[in-house]
């Protein structure tokens, strides 16, 4: 089992840790700007998603999406081999990486073999997961993010706060300030001006880059095709302008057939941003062929495991790997909406992050994440591939307290003798009904002795008070009254 090392952090970049969830949540909750930015953005995204599915039979489409992903996962080892063979046949060189460090090394070596000093990147969460930029910088290779949101986050020396919209924690004024500070543009609220400025800054860099690095949305096994979904054209530039293109993806992104792509694409864009289609949909099937005028001369595919194959060994947890990274679970999460993405301290925030990160980083690092949910079910309700996220959160809570299968790194880390004894006590009471009744009756009688303060509950709410009599007692009286015909 390979748990990724998170030692390599970009210099100067503002970092967050899942160990600090409570403190980071406290800070975010107390920051009106963060609160307002997320609330407004998430409200908008929820509305757009709902409208975009309009009169579609959403449940049928989600069922189809789930089945496509499950079918791919059922055949995952075979499909990966098929993908490799078909990519190689198309002239795409395939590399396997057991963990993020190995993936970084492979990518660095490809860059070095071309004497690359500058890399331009399309949006890729898996490269965030492995801290590729920091790794390349250490080797003297400059990596520039070309997705507008990623670019802003990079300029601002931050990490993405959302998997689809990396700079969603920033508002227009903050973005204007960052561009002004770092690139010398005018301070403005004119979004078109700012976009055009960023575009022209990036355009030069595309032309000068030695290598382009992108992610992959769907890797099609039957044809060896890499699909890339994007809106800004930066993905197309990244994968076509530099002489070398390196695509990086987790091993779970493979699908069986080309015809699996349209339903997943329809679900992805609507769930993510409420779009019917994105502005760009790239299908990369080979490097530049003889006689062609453009396209990279070399295309590489790096397939990254990084804990995924151990998730795959468990028939419940493997549902985590269905994810198509739309971000709808975070957009609809009442916790994410209030604390924002950075609070989670992980590459993948929100509900999907809380069920994925424990496998990537271990439960010892991430023990507060599976509990950072009221289990309201909104995430599971909107997931386009029907991942049972609430059930998986509960499964990881079980692992945290050592009552699961013990196959998640850090299992048992949250188990304390005190809490375990408390639940044993609860079990004993709730399975001894006569004692339970006596106890609840006494609690009612003693309500005057109940403390008015109940920890953090009463910082925000009044304390619940036992009613003085129990339902058990009321029902007894009620039945006796009925028998005597004295019902009030």
């Amino acid at each position: 089992m390979s748990v990724q090392s998170h030692d390599v952090q970009p210099q100067g970049v503002q970092t967050y840790s899942p160990r600090e969830f409570h403190r980071q949540a406290h800070d975010a909750l107390g920051n009106p700007q963060i609160r307002a930015n997320f609330r407004k953005a998430m409200d908008g995204l929820m509305t757009k998603r709902r409208d975009s599915f309009g009169d579609w039979d959403l449940e049928t489409l989600r069922e189809l999406g789930a089945n496509i992903r499950l079918r791919a996962l059922a055949k995952l080892p075979d499909l990966l081999e098929q993908l490799e063979a078909n990519c190689e046949a198309n002239g795409i060189r395939v590399h396997w990486a057991e963990d993020g460090d190995q993936a970084c090394r492979i990518i660095r070596e490809i860059c070095e073999s071309h004497d690359a000093s500058s890399v331009v990147k399309g949006k890729s969460m898996v490269t965030e997961e492995m801290h590729l930029n920091a790794h390349l910088e250490e080797a003297g290779i400059e990596a520039l993010e070309s997705d507008l949101g990623e670019y802003l986050v990079q300029l601002n020396e931050q990490t993405p706060s959302h998997i689809i919209m990396p700079a969603i924690h920033l508002n227009t004024d903050e973005i204007s300030e960052i561009l002004h500070d770092k690139t010398g543009t005018e301070r403005t609220r004119d979004v078109d001006y700012m976009t055009a400025a960023a575009r022209s800054q990036l355009r030069e860099r595309f032309m000068a880059a030695d290598v382009g690095i992108s992610g992959v949305n769907f890797a099609v096994a039957e044809t060896g095709t890499l699909c890339l979904v994007e809106n800004e054209g930066n993905g197309r530039m990244t994968t076509t302008v530099p002489p070398v293109h390196i695509a990086v993806t987790g091993i779970e992104k493979v699908v069986e057939q080309l015809r699996d792509v349209p339903p997943l694409y329809a679900l992805l864009t609507r769930s993510a941003t409420g779009q019917h289609v994105t502005t760009y949909f790239n299908m990369i099937s080979s490097p530049r062929k003889d006689g062609e005028h453009d396209g990279p001369k070399e295309v590489h595919l790096v397939l990254v495991d990084s804990g995924r194959s151990s998730i795959y060994q468990d028939d419940e947890l493997l549902d985590t790997l269905r994810c198509i990274r739309c971000g709808a679970c975070m957009n609809h999460c009442p916790v994410y909406t209030r604390v924002g993405g950075h609070t989670y301290g992980t590459t993948y925030p929100g509900p999907i992050g809380s069920i994925l990160s424990p496998h990537l980083m271990g439960l010892d690092e991430t023990k507060d994440l599976p509990t950072a949910s009221s289990l309201c079910g909104a995430c599971g309700e909107v997931c386009p591939v029907k991942i049972p996220i609430p059930d998986l959160l509960v499964r990881l809570r079980r692992e945290s307290v050592g009552e699961g299968r013990g196959n998640v790194p850090g299992a048992g880390v949250k188990r304390t003798r005190k809490e375990a004894a408390a639940w044993k006590g609860f079990q004993w009471l709730a399975t001894h009904p006569a004692v339970w009744r006596a106890g609840t009756a006494v609690a009612g009688k003693l309500k005057a002795l109940m403390p008015a303060k109940l920890g953090s509950w009463t910082d925000y709410r009044t304390a619940p008070r036992p009613a003085g009599t129990t339902l058990h007692a009321l029902v007894k009286r009620h039945q006796a009254n009925k028998t005597h015909g004295e019902e009030r």
């Binding site: 409570h22 949540a25 406290h26 909750l29 009442p334 916790v335 209030r338 507060d368 509990t371 950072a372 949910s373 009221s374 289990l375 309201c376 079910g377 909104a378 599971g380 309700e381 059930d391 509960v394 809570r397 079980r398 945290s400 307290v401 009552e403 699961g404 949250k414 375990a420 639940w423 044993k424 609860f426 079990q427 709730a430 399975t431 009904p433 339970w436 009744r437 609840t440 609690a443 009612g444 920890g455 953090s456 509950w457 009463t458 925000y460 709410r461 009044t462 304390a463 619940p464 036992p466 009613a467 009599t469 129990t470 339902l471 058990h472 007692a473 009321l474 029902v475 009620h478 039945q479």
Partner: protein, 251 residues
């Protein structure tokens, strides 16, 4: 279990599972639910040995403890009568999670059988009793908070509002983000108190802004949370379990 829920004809008798929160904190709500059922000519059986559905242990990850508590409840309903629960949360636990808890064990069949008979109160009143209500109360603006478990786990977003809609003098007001969680989430409110507080603050603000004089809910966890917040901020918006509200206005 079939995903399509089939409702039985109105039975002669039902079992009533009161839930531990109702037992301890809101017993009148439980009794009012029993009265509503009895008024429909149904005999209500209250197994005395009922305690808790086991959900707090279950959602905290204490699986063995949850299973032991759940197993004790499985013995309480020997006859084939429907089991009515005045909570979407406990109802969802018994209907959805009991089969998962006992899958592959000796109790699997019994757990599935019991789960198939679980009905949340408003669901039972609407779909089995086809309840007709005559409002005797004064005009009032009311907000309904449907719990997340009732709404999503049990698919019952409509039954509470459908009952309130029968009350002629009650105006059901629409709150912003009505489907959003109030922030209770059982032990979530204890483990993440500040996040939970931010959620309930927004919930009480939305109910107040909707102009509600009162809110009703079918889950006592939400009632304790939202009601506790209103009381803490000294806002004169009262909360009530829907069973009590319906009984009070129609008796």
């Amino acid at each position: 279990m079939t995903p399509v829920k089939l409702y039985p004809p109105k039975p002669e008798k039902v079992y009533f599972f009161g839930t531990c929160l109702v037992d301890l904190l809101y017993p009148e709500a439980g009794l009012d639910a029993i009265r509503l059922l009895e008024r429909e000519g149904i005999e209500v059986l209250f197994p005395e040995d009922q305690t808790c559905c086991g959900q707090p242990a279950y959602t905290s990850g204490y699986q063995q403890e949850a299973r032991a508590v759940a197993a004790a409840q499985l013995d309480l309903f020997p006859e084939p009568w429907p089991i009515v629960v005045p909570s979407g949360s406990c109802g969802g636990m018994m209907r959805t999670h009991y089969p998962q808890l006992f899958a592959g064990s000796d109790l699997e069949e019994r757990a599935n059988e019991v789960a198939g008979r679980i009905h949340e109160l408003t669901e039972f009143l609407v779909h089995v009793c086809h309840l007709k209500l005559e409002d005797r109360g004064a005009p009032e603006k009311v907000a309904m908070h449907t719990s997340c478990s009732a709404r999503r786990e049990m698919g019952l977003a409509e039954t509470g509002p459908a009952l309130l809609a029968q009350l002629g003098k009650v105006e059901l007001v629409e709150q912003a983000r009505g489907a959003e969680c109030c922030g209770f989430g059982g032990t979530f409110a204890v483990r993440h108190p500040e996040v939970s507080a931010a959620m309930v603050e927004d919930k009480t603000a939305a109910i107040e802004e909707a102009g509600a004089q009162r809110f009703v809910t079918s889950d006592c966890g939400c009632l304790m949370n939202i009601g506790g917040r209103f009381a803490h901020q000294k806002t004169p918006v009262e909360g009530e379990h829907i069973a009590s509200y319906l009984w009070r206005r129609t008796s």
